[in-house]
Structures are given as structure tokens and as C-alpha cells.
């Protein structure tokens, strides 16, 4: 049943400070036309440009240890973590609760990174490079986890937390079930947290979260249907809570062509129609679906000026910026053609 969300006296003021702040922060993001120019620069030129922006401190700090694409990647990760932690520091009350719930995705990212690292026997220094301490788990705790010797020891460290039940699904051979359980836990918590807020903008945020779940499920279906995996296994991997949950669940196990035909008419169809019919690689379809989601977040971010939505818009914009920069430098490092890199870059 839809929940009526009316503005309550004093409610918009809770969001006035943080929305003012994120709007000012948004002006410091890399302008969209700059990505086009970055495509014609080499990695050293991109690094020099980034030194003139908000990434200066991180690049200066890391330049003694890293260079090239590695330097840009680690510096942007560090800046992302600093920015998101900064948001948590300057919010209180309901905005803080919602921002923290959203940023828990980085906790899930970090746990997955550490588990994968330990699973493949990577060193703690190597694992630490890819951590983004932007959620609830701080750097000190993550450092402690990275220093542990085995996957089991990492899992044991979460005893008593929500993550423990998901992590105990580890069977000693495959991490995919644990990773899937962590994703499901994240979206369950996020949907519960957003569904519980009665503030203006909460309804649209809930809609965004459900859309994100749907997009994640569609990507899973694309990958697994193309690989011809059994319907029951695919259904186990789908995340509950999306708006199209039942529809997508029925599509599990279909042949690729039948699945693609079934997607016609859904809101995201226009974003992928030209690439799916050509039978392109899943990565291109995935990039288009992610871009669709980012554009949706940008579109709703202006609906209610004094609500959580502008904050969501900024978080998504920052995430997209870091992801775009990483795609460009990693693409340049791999000598990919500019057109191919451009396709992966998300702009409004």
C-alpha cells in the first residue's frame, strides 16, 4: 500500500544544511565535457588535470608509491572514501541514517574484496589498495581483516553482526554464494530503511532502490540466461524486493532470444534495445543499464529540493565520476580505442 508522505514542520530544515552542502560539492565535480577531452589525453595528462581538481591531495600523497593508471585508480578510490565519510560526518538524524544505509554498499564491496583477496592468497598490502572505507566499517577494522590469514578467520570476525549469517554460507570452495547473500542482505536492509521513512522524497528513494534491484536482476538474467544456466539456480541468485521481481523470476532459464523479447516494453528497454538485438557483449548491455540507472537518479534528484534526493544525486554523481575516470585510464592503459572507452563513460 502506498504511504502518504506529507512535509512535516521542521522536516525540510533537517535537509537544508546537507542539501546546500552537496549542491556546492556538485559544482566541484569534473564537468561532463571534460571526459571527451580526457579521451584524447594520455594518462600523464589526465593525472596532471586531476591534480588541479579535488583529487589533488590524494594524487600528491600517493604519487611517491604509484604511477600511471594505478595512481589515478587508488587516488580516486581514496578521494571517494574521504568524500562519502565527509558526508556522514556532516549529517545528523534521518539524513545520516539514510546516507549510512546507502553507503553500506561499500562495506559489502570491502568485505567481498577482502574475501576474494584471501581466497586467492593475495597479500594484505595488495588487498588494502582496493578498499574504499566509505561505509560503516572503518579503515582500521578493514586493515585488521586484511591482515587475517584465511577466509574463515575473516568470516569469524563478523560474528554477532548482520553479515555473519550471510558469510556463513561459505562452503570452502566458492565465494559466489556468499557474495550473493551479501548483496541480498544489503538490499533487504536498504529497502527496509527507506520504506520506514515518512519524509518527503522517501517514496522516490524507495522507487530508486527497487529499480536498482531490478537492474541488478536483469544483468544477472542476461549473464546466466546467455550461459544457459538452470532456472532454479538463476532464481536463487535474483535479489528480492524489486518492482519487477515476479516478472523477472519467470524469465529465468529462458533462451536468450525469448528473454530479450520479454524485456520489450519495460522502462529500461529503450536504453538497451539497439545493443541487445545486435547480440552484443553483455558488458555493453550492462554499461547501458547502469547508465540508465544513473540517469534515473539524476532525474529524481531535483524533485524535492529539501529532501534526501539531492544527496542521493550527489552520491551517484561522485560514484559515476570516479567510475568514468577509472574506465578512461584503464582503457588507455590497455590501448583500447577511444570509441570503445567512450561507450562505457556515463554522462547526462
Amino acid at each position: 500500500m502506498p504511504v502518504l508522505r506529507l512535509p512535516k514542520f521542521g522536516d525540510p530544515v533537517k535537509y537544508a544544511y546537507i542539501t546546500g552542502r552537496v549542491r556546492a560539492k556538485k559544482t566541484k565535480l569534473v564537468p561532463h565535457d571534460m571526459y571527451q577531452r580526457m579521451l584524447s589525453m594520455d594518462i600523464a595528462e589526465i593525472t596532471r588535470y586531476l591534480e588541479e581538481t579535488q583529487y589533488k591531495d590524494e594524487i600528491d600523497e600517493m604519487a611517491k608509491d604509484y604511477s600511471g593508471a594505478d595512481l589515478v585508480e587508488y587516488a580516486t578510490f581514496a578521494n571517494l572514501a574521504k568524500t562519502y565519510r565527509g558526508l556522514l560526518d556532516v549529517t545528523i538524524d534521518e539524513p545520516k541514517f539514510l546516507v549510512l544505509e546507502y553507503l553500506r554498499r561499500w562495506d559489502v564491496w570491502n568485505i567481498k574484496t577482502i574475501l576474494r583477496g584471501k581466497f586467492h592468497g593475495s597479500s594484505d598490502e595488495e588487498i588494502m589498495k582496493y578498499l574504499v572505507p566509505a561505509g560503516e566499517l572503518d579503515l582500521e577494522f578493514l586493515e585488521g581483516l586484511a591482515k587475517k590469514d584465511t577466509v574463515e578467520e575473516v568470516i569469524q570476525a563478523f560474528d554477532g553482526t548482520d553479515y555473519y549469517v550471510a558469510l556463513t554460507q561459505y562452503d570452502g570452495h566458492m565465494l559466489s554464494s556468499v557474495e550473493n547473500a551479501l548483496d541480498k542482505l544489503y538490499y533487504f536492509r536498504m529497502e527496509r530503511a527507506v520504506g520506514g521513512t515518512l519524509s518527503v522524497g522517501g517514496g522516490l528513494l524507495l522507487k530508486y532502490v527497487r529499480k536498482e534491484i531490478d537492474i541488478k536482476n536483469v544483468i544477472t538474467l542476461f549473464r546466466m540466461n546467455k550461459a544457459g544456466i538452470d532456472a532454479s539456480i538463476i532464481q536463487e541468485n535474483l535479489i528480492d524486493g524489486g518492482k519487477l521481481g515476479d516478472d523477472l523470476s519467470r524469465m529465468a532459464g529462458q533462451s536468450y532470444d525469448e528473454f530479450v523479447r520479454g524485456l520489450e516494453g519495460y522502462p529500461f528497454w529503450s536504453a538497451i534495445s539497439d545493443v541487445v538485438t545486435k547480440g552484443d557483449e553483455i558488458s555493453r548491455i550492462e554499461a547501458r543499464l547502469k547508465a540508465y540507472l544513473v540517469r534515473y537518479a539524476w532525474a529524481i534528484s531535483n524533485y524535492h529540493p529539501l529532501s534526501i534526493l539531492p544527496v542521493l544525486g550527489y552520491i551517484v554523481s561522485k560514484d559515476t565520476e570516479v567510475s568514468n575516470i577509472r574506465k578512461i585510464v584503464r582503457g588507455k592503459e590497455a590501448d583500447l580505442p577511444a570509441e570503445l572507452i567512450e561507450e562505457q563513460v556515463v554522462v547526462a
Partner: protein, 85 residues
């Protein structure tokens, strides 16, 4: 008879004073309600962009103009408006 009591009994000036007080007071409360949001947003922006302080203060002072209207009404009531005289 009621009018006589109000005018002759000096109650009129009491009511005018109450009206003048309400005009300024309510305008002040209204401006305060408006300013709480603007003030919070301006402080947020200035924390990121110190150069915005001047513009921010100007925006913050906009609701203050409401108090001037209230004050003007109060002054008219107290000193310029003399009914039944």
C-alpha cells in the same frame, strides 16, 4: 454603548497596542521560520565555498523584509492611526 466603553474607557489604546505588538511579533516569527531553512542551507554552502558568504547573507536577509512590513504597520497603529477622534 460598547463602542463608548472602548473609546472613552481607554480600552481602544490598549487594543491598538496589542495589535501593534502582534503585527511585529507574528512577522518576526514568520521571518524566523523562513530563515531557519535558508540559514542552514547557506551555512552548508559556505562550508564548501567560503566565497558564497556575501550572497548567502543577502538571501538569508530576504525574509527579514517581512518584519519591516510588520514594524511599519505597528508604527502606523501606534502613532498615525487615530480612529473615532
Amino acid at each position: 454603548m460598547v463602542v463608548d466603553i472602548i473609546v472613552d474607557g481607554g480600552m481602544l489604546y490598549g487594543l491598538i497596542a496589542v495589535g501593534a505588538g502582534l503585527a511585529t511579533g507574528l512577522a518576526g516569527i514568520g521571518a524566523g521560520v523562513g530563515e531557519q531553512g535558508i540559514g542552514a542551507a547557506v551555512v552548508g554552502v559556505v562550508a564548501e565555498e567560503p566565497g558564497f558568504l556575501g550572497k548567502g547573507l543577502f538571501l538569508m536577509l530576504l525574509p527579514e523584509t517581512l518584519i519591516i512590513f510588520g514594524l511599519a504597520v505597528s508604527l502606523i497603529l501606534m502613532f498615525a492611526w487615530t480612529p473615532f477622534v
